[in-house]
């Protein structure tokens, strides 16, 4: 049993108010795998050019990530260059060079065709659909997307959503997808189109789980410093699905805990550039942060509160 992730494998160059990084390993599949592999065996499908420093992904191998689905083809790897200003919520894209990623079609090795969980990273919804056609029906199909596909590939995206169990997007994306500024109405709109569950990420404000009729709020972990927001969402998804794979049970209780694990992983991810922090992360550190988040959200409804004045 394992988690199959399909997504980008990139070289990111980043400027934030706190420093810079050049050609650091990144991309949705790398950030996701780094986080999920703390909890579960992961199978990665992606493509890189022959210039990619594949050795820098050895930390993933050491954590039971099967990289046999990572194709290396002649040409340049996908490169993204972005700049964050003091408002760290949205980067300015300075340069995108798709390279070999432009012609990417996911090749699923035979050993990857019976995953327990599939995470479709943020790529063309037609490719995300292709992946689902090439694997046996997994227990959970989760996917991410972004404004580019919501605007440009809406029909493909809606076709994909019919086959998705859990959509994981940020609050701006779900409002755009449902064309409704109200988050709660927007979530129901999506739930009527396939995914019975949604995880809406709100950056520093945490995340909201829509689990059929139930709503669950998880806060963002309080950080004094955050260095690089890149990959926070994919790290969140890795923590969320990794935890679900580990407990091997999908229930109201495990989904809630999974969201908190996701929030914890997202918070670790932004502490340092690229995958640096999550690559060095130990499972005990995650558990400790989850306990802290629990302490920061729990309260009792005492009898006094219900007494009449």
């Amino acid at each position: 049993m394992s988690i199959l992730v399909v997504g980008s494998v990139a070289l990111d160059s980043l400027e934030t108010p706190f420093g810079t990084a050049d050609d650091t390993v990144g991309g949705s599949a790398v950030h996701f795998s780094a986080a999920a592999s703390l909890f579960a065996p992961v199978q990665l499908v992606g493509v890189v050019g022959d210039d990619y420093p594949v050795g820098e992904l050895d930390f993933l191998r050491d954590r039971d990530v099967d990289l046999s689905g990572l194709e290396t083809v002649e040409g340049e790897s996908f490169r993204w260059k972005g700049r964050y200003t003091h408002d760290l919520s949205a980067p300015e894209t300075l340069e995108t060079r798709l390279g070999v990623f432009a012609d990417f079609h996911p090749r699923i090795p035979d050993a990857f065709r019976t995953p327990d969980i599939v995470f479709l990273g943020n790529i063309d919804p037609r490719l995300q659909l292709e992946v689902l056609e090439r694997v046996e029906k997994p227990r959970i199909v989760a996917c991410d997307t972004m404004n580019f596909w919501i605007e440009g590939s809406r029909d493909d995206l809606l076709r994909l959503l019919e086959r998705v169990d859990i959509l994981m997007v940020n609050d701006g994306e779900i409002r755009q997808l449902a064309e409704d500024p109200n988050l709660f109405r927007a979530a129901r709109w999506v739930q009527e189109r396939g995914p019975s569950r949604l995880v809406v990420k709100k950056g520093e404000h945490g995340a909201v789980l829509f689990d059929r009729e139930e709503i669950f709020f998880a806060p963002g972990y309080p950080l004094d410093e955050l260095n690089d927001p890149t990959g926070a969402g994919d790290s969140f998804a890795g923590g969320f699905l990794g935890f679900l794979h580990d407990v091997d049970e999908v229930s109201s209780g495990t989904l809630r805990r999974a969201v908190v694990f996701g929030s914890a992983l997202g918070s670790f991810a932004v502490e340092d550039f690229g995958v640096k922090r999550v690559a060095a992360l130990r499972r005990e550190e995650v558990a400790a942060r989850v306990r802290e988040l629990r302490h920061m959200t729990q309260f009792e409804v005492a009898p006094a509160a219900a007494s009449s004045h």
Copy 2:
């Protein structure tokens, strides 16, 4: 034992995407009293002109709000006219007419000089200080402020903070006050200057309690519709302090519950224009919403989560 509130008593004219209201009773002291009086006896100090429809405050009298500190003087009442666009987080001020509020100096009736809790609504920090000099030291001094005083009366505000137990502001205000974009560092900056506790309101994203070393997150109640955000912060403060007065105990546990009561009151306040919804609110409805918020935030840390992979 009672709660003393000093603040504005105004006539608000509002435009939101969902409707309009003209010369509706409002102001920080009115919104606060409407909420707090669900839980505790309230004493209100403020001023209105002889044009004020004082009869429209009868719902407060019916709830044990003592209005004998509400002065009526010759002249026009404080009027505020604002417009909210689809982003309901910040209104555009169309007109402010201070009227008799321009010369307001709080007159504290003798019967009001031994309050258990004082809430200093958003007025000139020099007037907030005057109030504290005219009452016996209460168990809790809580106060609000706004960008206008943070910019223009910084020294007075810092002098006031030395005597405040709980500062209740929104996230933009605390960042501005501490001159730090990081909420958590900003909160510590304030805590070093007087208030050992802070409640930071984040609108739809809920609220954060800084209780000495502890941090507690309460979500905003999910609303499909919100009609008028005016007074949400004062209603929050009323629910928060009203609950604290009612349980008559200041502890980590009661402060957390108080924040959730505040969040619930804030959410009711925005459901209709002016004080309409809170004036009709029953305590049982608040308790039910608090229970809902509890269900939306609670999770267990199961042993499985701590097991090694």
